[in-house]
C-alpha cells in the first residue's frame, strides 16, 4: 500500500505526499518517485527523483475543464458515449482497436476481450515500436535479464540505435551506467559503455566508445561481429561498407568475449530502419553466440509506460503479442496483414477504437486519410490529432496519476501504480467495461456474430 501522509502546513494547503509512486511516462517505469500533491488544486507540485520527462509528465497532467464525452463534437453523457461506441463496433464488418500502451493492464485485457467478442482486430503501438524485435524474438529467442540483474552484474553495456539521454534519461542512472551494483561496486568506473548510432547525440558523452555506423548498415556491422566472434573471415571493405573500421570491430569483439557480463540494449534505430526484424534478430543472435564465451543478454529499450504490459496482456489472451485478428473466430497473428498501419493504409477497416494513442499524428499519410473516413472512438487524457477526427471521444483519467492498476517495466517486471489524486474523468478501464457490457448486450438475442 502507498505510504500517504496528509498534513495542513501553515498555508492551510491540503498537501499529500505519495512515496514510492511510479512514473509511467516511459518504459523505465521508475517506481521510486516521491510526489507532493496539492489536493486543493488537484496537481502534483513536486516529483522527487523524476527525470526531466517525468517532471513534465507529473506537472502537466492537471484536471482540464473539458467534457467527458463528445459525440460528433457535441457534449454527451458517459452512457450515451458508451452506447454509441458499442453500436459502432457491433455494426462494423472489420472493427479494430489500437494503442493500449499508455493504459493499465486491467484496461488492456478488457479491450482485447471486446475485439475477441466482435471478431475484430487488436494491435498495440508495439507494431510501430519494437514489433520487429518481437518478431525476431519468436525467430531466434532472447537471452534476457531484468534491469536489476543488469544493474548488479553488467560490466559491458552496449546501446545500439538509441538515445536514452533524451528518451529514457534514468536508464543510465538507475539501471545500467552509473549505479553501483552487487558485482559493480564502483558504478560507471567498473563498466565499459559503448554507444552505436548513425549520429552523435546527447547520449554520446556517456559512452567510453562511440561507434558511428553509416545509415542503414546496422545489420552488416552486427553480422560482421557475429562472424568475428566465431573466428570467421569478413569482407576486407567492411569499413567502406559500414563506416566502422576493422580495428574497431576487433576491439568490440575482444571486449564482448572477455567481459564478465554483457548487455546489448536495442533502440528503435534498429527496428525502424532498413532491416527491421533482421536487425533485432542479429542482435539477439550475437548475444546468444557470445554465451559460448561469457554471459551476455539483449533487451529492447521500450518507449511507452506500459507498452510491455500490452505485449504481455495480448499474449496471455491471444497467444500473440500484437497484430492479432479474430475475424475467423480464433486469433491469428500476421505482421503486415493485421498490424494497424497496414490495415488502415489498405483501407480495410470500417471502425476504429483508439486507446491512449495518436495514429492520426504518427502514421503514414495514406493510413491517416483512411482513419479520417471511418467512425473513430478515442480514449485519451488530452486533445490529439486523433481525438480531433473522432466520432466519439472520451476524456479519461491519467493512469498512474489518477488511477491505480498494473504496468510492466520494459524488462517484463510488473509494478503496481499508486495514484496521486482523484479525477472526475472515468478510467480507460471503466469506459471499456461499459462498452464491453453494451457490446455483449447488443449481441445477445441476435444471431451470434458469424466468423468469416
Amino acid at each position: 500500500m502507498p505510504e500517504v501522509i496528509q498534513s495542513k502546513p501553515k498555508e492551510k494547503k491540503n498537501i499529500k505526499i505519495v512515496k514510492d509512486a511510479t512514473c509511467t511516462f516511459c518504459g523505465c517505469v521508475c517506481d521510486d518517485m516521491e510526489l507532493t500533491v496539492d489536493l486543493d488544486e488537484h496537481r502534483i507540485t513536486k516529483a522527487k527523483n523524476a527525470c526531466v520527462l517525468g517532471r513534465a509528465w507529473f506537472y502537466e497532467h492537471v484536471l482540464e475543464d473539458r467534457p467527458v464525452v463528445l459525440i460528433d463534437g457535441k457534449e454527451a453523457t458517459l452512457e450515451e458515449g458508451m452506447d454509441t461506441a458499442a453500436q459502432i463496433l457491433v455494426d462494423a464488418k472489420f472493427p479494430i482497436t489500437y494503442g493500449l500502451s499508455d493504459c493499465t493492464c486491467e484496461a488492456q485485457r478488457v479491450a482485447v476481450d471486446i475485439m475477441d467478442t466482435i471478431n475484430g482486430n487488436v494491435d498495440t503501438t508495439t507494431s510501430v515500436c519494437h514489433g520487429p524485435s518481437g518478431m525476431a524474438f519468436q525467430g531466434v529467442g532472447e537471452s534476457t535479464a531484468t534491469l536489476g540483474e543488469i544493474r548488479n552484474r553488467a560490466d559491458l553495456v552496449i546501446y545500439w540505435g538509441g538515445n536514452p539521454a533524451e528518451s529514457h534519461p534514468r536508464h543510465f542512472t538507475r539501471y545500467a551506467v552509473t549505479p553501483k551494483g552487487m558485482y559493480i561496486p564502483n558504478g560507471k568506473k567498473d563498466r565499459t559503455v559503448v554507444l552505436v548510432d548513425v549520429r552523435k547525440t546527447s547520449s554520446t558523452p556517456v559512452a567510453d566508445i562511440f561507434v558511428q555506423v553509416k545509415p542503414g548498415k546496422d545489420f552488416e556491422v552486427l553480422w560482421a561481429l557475429r562472424a568475428l566472434v566465431k573466428g570467421k573471415r569478413i569482407s576486407k571493405d567492411i569499413e567502406e561498407q559500414t563506416g566502422v573500421s576493422r580495428e574497431m570491430l576487433d576491439d568490440l569483439v575482444y571486449r564482448m568475449k572477455n567481459c564478465q557480463y554483457g548487455v546489448l540494449f536495442l533502440g528503435m534505430g534498429l527496428t525502424m530502419t532498413r532491416g527491421r526484424h533482421f536487425n533485432s534478430g542479429a542482435v539477439y543472435s550475437l548475444a546468444a553466440d557470445l554465451n559460448e564465451f561469457t554471459h551476455f543478454v539483449a533487451k529492447p529499450v521500450r518507449g511507452h509506460g506500459n507498452v510491455t504490459g500490452a505485449d504481455n496482456v495480448v499474449s496471455w489472451q491471444t497467444g500473440y503479442p500484437f497484430g492479432v485478428n479474430f475475424n475467423r473466430g480464433y486469433p491469428r497473428f500476421n505482421p503486415g496483414e493485421f498490424t494497424t498501419s497496414d490495415v488502415l493504409a489498405r483501407g480495410e477497416t470500417d471502425a476504429a477504437m483508439i486507446i491512449a494513442s495518436d495514429p492520426a499524428s504518427n502514421f503514414s499519410r495514406r493510413a491517416i486519410e483512411h482513419l479520417a473516413k471511418i467512425p473513430v472512438i478515442t480514449m485519451d487524457t488530452k486533445e490529439t490529432h486523433t481525438t480531433k477526427i473522432s466520432k466519439v471521444r472520451f476524456a479519461v483519467a491519467t493512469y498512474g496519476i489518477n488511477t491505480g492498476g498494473t504496468v510492466y517495466r520494459m524488462d517484463d517486471v510488473p509494478i503496481s501504480l499508486r495514484p496521486a489524486f482523484d479525477s472526475p474523468f472515468p478510467t480507460d478501464q471503466e469506459v471499456l467495461e461499459g462498452i464491453r457490457q453494451r457490446v455483449k448486450r447488443l449481441l445477445t438475442g441476435s444471431k451470434a456474430r458469424t466468423a468469416f
Binding site: 526531466v52 502537466e60 534505430g269 525502424m272 530502419t273 496483414e337 498501419s341 499524428s361 503514414s364
Partner: protein
C-alpha cells in the same frame, strides 16, 4: 538527403503539455542539418525548407548542427506530424513503416 526522425527531450516534455500546443508543433517542425550542407544551400538558422519524399512533403524550419555531430547529407527531426507526412505506408510485411532513413529532396522555401 537522408532524414532520420527520432525522439528528443523537448519533444518528450512538450507532448505532456499537449500535442496540439504551439511548443510541440514547433519542436516537431524544426529539422537539424549539418552546417556544411546549410552553407552549401545558402541556409541560415530559422530558414524554412521543404522536405519532399516519394509520398509527401513538409515545410519545416532548419537549425544547424556541427559537422562532427551530424554527418553531411543527414537531417534529424523529432517525430511528429511532419515526419509522418513523409513516411511511406509500406511495411514490407513487418507492420513497421520505414520511419527512419527516409530519402528526401531538400529545397529552400
Amino acid at each position: 538527403m537522408i532524414l532520420v526522425p527520432g525522439r528528443s527531450q523537448k519533444q518528450g516534455t512538450s507532448l505532456n503539455k499537449g500535442k496540439l500546443k504551439d511548443e510541440y508543433l514547433t519542436v516537431t517542425t524544426t529539422a537539424e542539418m549539418n552546417e556544411s550542407d546549410m552553407q552549401r544551400m545558402k541556409l541560415v538558422n530559422g530558414d524554412k525548407i521543404q522536405l519532399k519524399s516519394d509520398v509527401g512533403q513538409a515545410v519545416v524550419t532548419c537549425k544547424s548542427k556541427k559537422k562532427e555531430d551530424l554527418p553531411a547529407g543527414m537531417i534529424f527531426i523529432p517525430y511528429g506530424p511532419s515526419s509522418s507526412q513523409l513516411m511511406a505506408s509500406d511495411t514490407a510485411a513487418s507492420g513497421m513503416p520505414m520511419s527512419k532513413h527516409m530519402e528526401v529532396i531538400v529545397t529552400k522555401v
